[in-house]
């Protein structure tokens, strides 16, 4: 996906962190903004594949996609 994909009025039904969500965004970067993650330190995966922060704006999201948004947490 060479060019950035932005917000459209068309709604998309995605699964974000295991929950169904109706969103307007067409790119992963726009999706994070739309959902309220702006400025948060998170990492992302789309349909099980890692998506680096630098390519989120050129990574499109489509109906049915599964998005994971994670952050640092305590671990053993």
């Amino acid at each position: 996906m060479p060019e950035a994909v932005g917000e459209t009025s068309k709604s998309r039904r995605l699964v974000v962190n295991g929950e169904p969500r109706e969103v307007a965004s067409a790119s992963l970067a726009a999706l994070l903004d739309e959902l309220g993650y702006s400025g948060q330190k998170v990492a992302t995966a789309l349909n099980g594949d890692f998506v680096a922060e630098r390519v989120r704006h050129q990574t499109g999201v489509s109906p049915g996609d599964e998005v994971e948004i994670v952050a640092p947490r305590q671990g053993g």
């Binding site: 962190n17 993650y37 994670v70 952050a71 305590q74 053993g76």
Partner: protein
């Protein structure tokens, strides 16, 4: 690869060439508060702590606050892939962890079974190979299985982390014979006993065998006084390592008096009536 010399002594613990000041690696989960966690890390003077990744809600800063706190402690982090059940999940989690934590170290867990949380050795070897080729420094959570260990080394792992007992059980070293065999079989590979330890004596036992380090979490975090327990484990690790370097005596079946026999008062070769 059969090597018969004894494991190396008195060398620094330096996984992937990074010399560490402590042989105790500590998990960061389940503490009563962030302050207790920080105090436990300080008390035990650990150099490496494990961390993880979890789903984050929007407009929250929990993950960021935790990470800022850890960064302030000046310790190295070893992110894990806890909870991953397939190589694919573990690989993606490792890639997300590398971006978030800024390290290519990864404690690789691919879990096979809910009740035992035992490693899926087949998935582990597969994920380790992919991650090593992608530049990760993989610390695989594995078992004492020597065949799997060989494959992990071939896949690019330079450290192996066999379990002591299943995660969170506190049972200590469930199979000391197999752990001793593994240590002797890989005398020059950095080996860390990871998981299952419940008491400082368990950590000391692993170190007495010649293990390079131990990794634990629950036994410290769930202690009545986690800070004191962290210190106790650190002391156990130092005691065990020092004993290993000093050379433990061989066990024997029959008693042998430690006090000199010569000159014993009332001694006689004749049995007393």
């Amino acid at each position: 690869m059969i090597e018969t010399e004894a494991p190396s002594v008195a060398t620094q613990f330096a996984p992937y060439g990074v010399g560490l000041s402590s042989r105790l690696l500590l998990g960061t989960a389940q503490y009563p508060s962030p302050k207790v966690l920080a105090d436990a890390i300080h008390a035990a003077e650990v150099a490496v702590v494990t961390v993880s990744l979890r789903r984050e809600a929007a407009r929250t800063r929990g993950g960021e606050r935790f990470w800022d706190m850890i960064k302030g402690l000046g310790v190295r982090v070893l992110p894990n892939t806890a909870g991953c059940r397939t190589p694919k999940e573990a690989i993606t989690t490792a890639q997300m962890a590398r971006e978030l934590f800024g390290t290519d170290w990864i404690k690789l867990e691919v879990i096979a079974n809910d009740d035992t949380l035992q490693p899926d050795l087949f998935g582990l070897v597969e994920a380790a190979g992919v991650l090593a080729r992608d530049g990760f420094k993989v610390f695989p959570y594995t078992t004492e299985d020597l065949g799997a260990a060989e494959r992990l080394l071939t896949a690019g792992c330079e450290v192996l982390m066999p379990w002591g007992a299943p995660i969170g059980t506190g049972r200590g070293l469930a199979n000391p014979y197999a752990l001793r065999t593994m240590r002797n079989y890989f005398p020059s590979v950095p080996l860390v006993v990871d998981a299952g330890m419940g008491a400082p004596s368990h950590a000391a036992q692993a170190m007495e065998m010649g293990y390079d380090a131990v990794l634990l979490n629950t036994a410290v975090a769930k202690a009545v006084d986690p800070v004191a327990m962290a210190r106790a484990f650190a002391q156990g690790v130092v005691a065990g390592r020092t004993a290993f370097e000093a050379g433990l005596m061989e066990a024997r079946d029959m008693a042998a008096p430690s006090t000199p026999v010569a000159g014993t008062p009332f001694f006689s070769f004749e049995p007393k009536a």
